[in-house]
Subunit: 343 residues, 2 copies
DNA sequence: CACCGTTGGGAAAACTCTTTCCCAGAGTAG
DNA sequence: CTACTCTGGGAAAGAGTTTTCCCAACGGTG
């Protein structure tokens, strides 16, 4: 009856040494083992095809080689980019990455984090903007705190209200820079697809854009700001509503690229051409969207790098003070979807 | 000194019962526990904030709640779609998903699988076409076999040479159906961006397309088939090479959507318009690419569903015979990037 | 009322490692 | 030559669960 795996005890026996010695050979412990025994153990391990039992190791060491990543939706290119960065960093350190998706449910989020806690994960990266709801934040903060007491560390991507290291895009300044660019192009009246009203990221981009307009002495008409889902279809839908009400705007700013994509599709369906009838700009610079026609004016965010840096923060175990905040600047990518307005 | 976690023993003590009883209450075992004790234990567990140690459970049960997913690149929308399907299924069953990315290295692949083996994962889904290299397949087959002996199960997405359950798109028939559609539109001379020569998926799509042309009595000129990377940039590059050599084709078939995207970009850069100067078709129907202009004629694959079905196969533990193969048909999506050729 | 089967509780072994602690032997200094 | 310090090996004690095995109590049958 082949159980399918070999234990360290069998390796030790096969090599004619004690369990302790075998253990010391397999994982280079601080203790020395003589060359002779070392070779014997290594030979036996190889011959028997020994593979350590990770759970037993985790239990004995009380620390695992797992790292967690929590995203809203892995099929969303925004998150899959970040995931690629986190993955790369984890792989480099020989860590195993656990992926949890929340579908924007805070309940799922706490469930996932508690699962990671139960697995004694080393660190967790939580990506994805949070709603501004106080009460779900409190629940999450409690989980994070519990995780910290266990010796785990958390880093966040693009959200700064929780007590943990954070990598956050400077949404405010990115949106402001975009606004300045558009104003310089000659636009004076803007419409905004502002996404969900309580989503922090969406809010910051809206605010940044708004501020820059104010600074330029321009007003943003209330009826030109429409809220909707943070998705392609949300952008489509919001644009239809905006146009149905009529707008005098010459430029439409969607607070992320996928919404901008939906907006362009909606405008095309209505027989409007971009940028001739209306300019459209987005935010994020999603790689898969770079080949849209017209190509999208947007703000580039180094998403993969952000993931990597968040992973690095989460795994930097010798920092123990105030949460650190790394702010990442976006750069305006001027492309075809915006053009000076026709007078 | 707060260790940060509560053990089952502490719960048992707090509730005034034995460790065995506490264990039986927390995970509904087959054994009954009286209502009275059950409530006491539950109350204690809740009061102390008990969270089971997953490693200890895995060790004791010799079976974990982990499920593995192996992809080439999580930022590639093809894989992130599949990942979304697998995730959904895993989450439904309360399993924790471990994500491994190989960057198309078979070495990384075996490393990841052995890590999953060491964690006593329940099942693994391996997504992504394999190269047709015999020798790396053999190594992988050995890992999979070892995993099976441990009681784990593997399912593959889109590759059928290994001895494990497989969900595979019918690349051959999908490409053939696409070819038929294009021939019916009036095209007679085709060029193909065939991807890497040794990549199974690419090969099958090429073959299917080729077969259908032959059946229609059409030839495929050798110089009209160009190989290159399976990526957006590979498509761009391949198209440039194709056009530099000159082609008489009226329609260009790229064996996946991202390559088709690169092709359209390259053509545009050369001042050619699609579909007027040249029709372009792809394969996969990546959602984020649906808003391209012109919209892409392609073959739709239900990627998320494929991921889900693969997960289901991998977790269906009462099947123990020959590997099963689930074939998924693609459907031709006729859109704007192809049009009847101008005579 | 004796016997038997069932129910529910607890003690303890098992799972596979890591690490502490102890000990023998070798080397070194006084 | 003794005493002391290293060095490297092994026995055994954990780590936190699950599960087997044993036992007491109870209810029903003849």
């Amino acid at each position: 009856m082949d159980p399918g795996y070999v234990t360290l005890e069998q390796v030790a026996e096969h090599a004619g040494v004690s369990l302790a010695t075998a253990s010391r050979v397999i994982n280079g412990s601080t203790r020395q083992v003589s060359q002779r025994l070392r070779e014997k153990v290594e030979a036996s391990a190889h011959e028997l095809g020994y593979l350590a039992n990770a759970s037993a190791q985790t239990l004995a060491r009380n620390s695992s080689s797992l790292m967690g990543l929590v995203v809203h939706d892995i099929a969303d290119p925004y998150f899959s980019q970040i995931a690629a960065g986190v993955t790369r960093y984890a792989e480099e350190l020989g860590l195993v990455l656990v992926l949890g998706t929340t579908n924007r449910s805070t309940q799922a989020e706490t469930r996932i984090i508690s699962a990671l806690r139960s697995h004694r994960a080393k660190a967790i990266v939580i990506a994805g903007s949070r709603t501004t709801s106080e009460e779900s934040d409190a629940r999450l903060a409690k989980e994070i705190e519990a995780f910290g007491r266990q010796g785990g560390r958390v880093a966040l991507v693009s959200q700064a209200t929780l007590p943990a290291d954070t990598v956050t895009p400077n949404n405010h300044s990115g949106a402001a820079a975009l606004a300045q660019h558009l104003v310089a192009q000659g636009h004076r009246r803007f419409a905004i697809l502002a996404g969900p009203p309580n989503l922090r990221t969406a809010r910051e981009r809206l605010d940044g854009f708004h501020c820059a307009l104010s600074a330029a002495g321009l007003e943003l008409a209330h009826h030109n700001v429409v809220h909707g889902d943070f998705t392609r279809d949300g952008g489509y839908e919001s644009t239809r509503r905006l146009m149905a009400l009529g707008t005098d705007a010459t430029c439409l700013f969607a607070v992320n690229d996928v919404m901008a994509t939906g907006a362009i599709a909606a405008l095309r369906a209505m027989g409007k051409t971009v940028p001739e009838d209306l300019s459209v700009a987005g935010f994020d610079d999603i790689p898969t969207l770079r080949d849209l026609t017209p190509s999208l004016t947007t703000v580039r965010l180094p998403l993969e790098e952000m993931g990597e840096r968040a992973a690095a923060l989460a795994l930097d175990s010798d920092h123990h003070g105030e949460p650190r905040v790394v702010s990442v600047e976006g750069t305006v990518m001027a492309r075809e979807s915006t053009a000076p307005p026709r007078n």
